[in-house]
């Protein structure tokens, strides 16, 4: 039993390490090769945990091999478009110029229900509003709406507004994120000044966001007496 427990701990660390090596892309949208590696890793990791007669190296070696190969293949696909298409496939246009392409849908084995589900997930409920729709290599559907169905932009309504970076988290559960403060061009003095103005101690702040203009949003720690 103890062996199984220790093996589970070690393989947990190996799988976490492997997923970290694969990078952030792995955690989000899965390319076909990444999906294959993820399924294989999860299966391989369970074998040496369940069966103590199998040496742990029989789990660790294939996991590291698969993950490292996947990283190498993704590095190669970055250099070569042809290999990228071979490994990940290519996006397919299913609606072009407002016209649906049923033959492409058949080719992709996408049913009409799949298409509508994909459109709804993009906030589109009327297919007539779609100018172009593309099935990405991850299987997601990207949609470009017709101009008549698109919400007006600031440019469309002639409003002059500057592009500003979004607010960032500067205090997390009473801890100051100094790097984020420096990115905004502020320091702890500025933060303490704001907290004094609000009449709050740092440890009473649950979260605080701020932007470059000095605008901020504060959320207090929940009161324990409540």
């Amino acid at each position: 039993m103890l062996i199984v427990f220790i093996r589970a701990l070690v393989l947990y660390a190996v799988v976490i390490f492997s997923v970290r090596i694969m990078g952030k892309r792995q955690i989000g949208e899965l390319q076909p090769s990444e999906l294959v590696v993820t399924i294989l890793v999860s299966n391989i990791a369970t074998l040496p945990i369940e069966d103590i007669s199998i040496p742990m190296s029989m789990g660790i070696v294939p996991i590291l091999t698969l993950v490292c190969l996947d990283v190498c293949v993704s590095a190669v696909t970055l250099k070569s478009r042809r290999i990228r298409r071979l490994v990940s496939g290519s996006p397919k246009i299913i609606i072009e110029g407002g016209k649906l392409r049923p033959e492409t849908l058949k080719q992709l084995r996408f049913s009409v229900d799949d298409l509508f589900e994909g459109l709804r997930s993009q906030g589109v409920f009327d297919i007539a509003d779609v100018e172009t729709a593309v099935v990405e290599t991850t299987g997601n559907i990207s949609v470009c709406l017709k101009k008549t169905a698109s919400p007006p932009t600031s440019e469309d309504i002639g409003r002059d507004c500057k592009n500003t970076p979004p607010p960032v988290l500067v205090v997390d559960n009473g801890s100051v994120l100094d790097t984020a403060l420096r990115t905004l061009g502020f320091d702890r003095q500025w933060l303490l000044k704001i907290l004094r103005k609000e009449g709050l101690a740092l440890e009473k702040v649950y979260l605080m966001t701020a932007d470059r203009q000095g605008s901020y949003c504060l959320v207090k720690q929940p009161d324990r007496s409540e």
């Binding site: 090596i21 040496p55 742990m56 190296s57 070696v61 490292c68 990283v71 190498c72």
Partner: protein, 122 residues
């Protein structure tokens, strides 16, 4: 790029570890097979069961077991351990020769299964 370099390093390290484990398994296997041959030779010359040699070989097997258990299925290794125990309690020459042959064949298969032959890859 750093990640790619790290992965290439890990792959190379895995190849190196696999190669050295293969060398370790086959070198130890050959040594033990040689020991089994020596036992048989001594028996054919003296006509007596060489208990001392068998005990020494069993100790060698125990060390070998520990050193290769990180790479081999322990069920297979345990089966060979049982054969070594049977060898220690062999009652007559026929029994001894039978156990020696079984151990040699098991060691041969253990080493041979480590080599990437076509039939083991497919």
């Amino acid at each position: 790029m750093k990640r790619l370099g790290f992965c290439i390093f890990i792959l190379m390290a895995l190849v190196a570890v696999s190669y050295f484990s293969l060398r370790r398994v086959s070198a130890g296997g050959e040594e033990l097979s040689q020991g089994v041959d020596d036992i048989r030779r001594e028996y054919s010359v003296t006509g007596k069961i060489p208990t001392k040699r068998i005990d020494d070989l069993s100790l060698k097997w125990q060390d070998y077991y520990k050193s290769i258990s990180f790479a081999e299925n322990t069920n297979e290794l345990n089966e060979i351990s049982l054969l070594f125990t049977s060898l220690r309690f062999a009652e007559d020459g026929q029994d001894l020769i039978k156990e020696c042959e079984l151990i040699k064949t098991s060691l041969f298969l253990l080493c041979e299964n480590e080599y990437p032959h076509w039939y083991s890859l497919l």
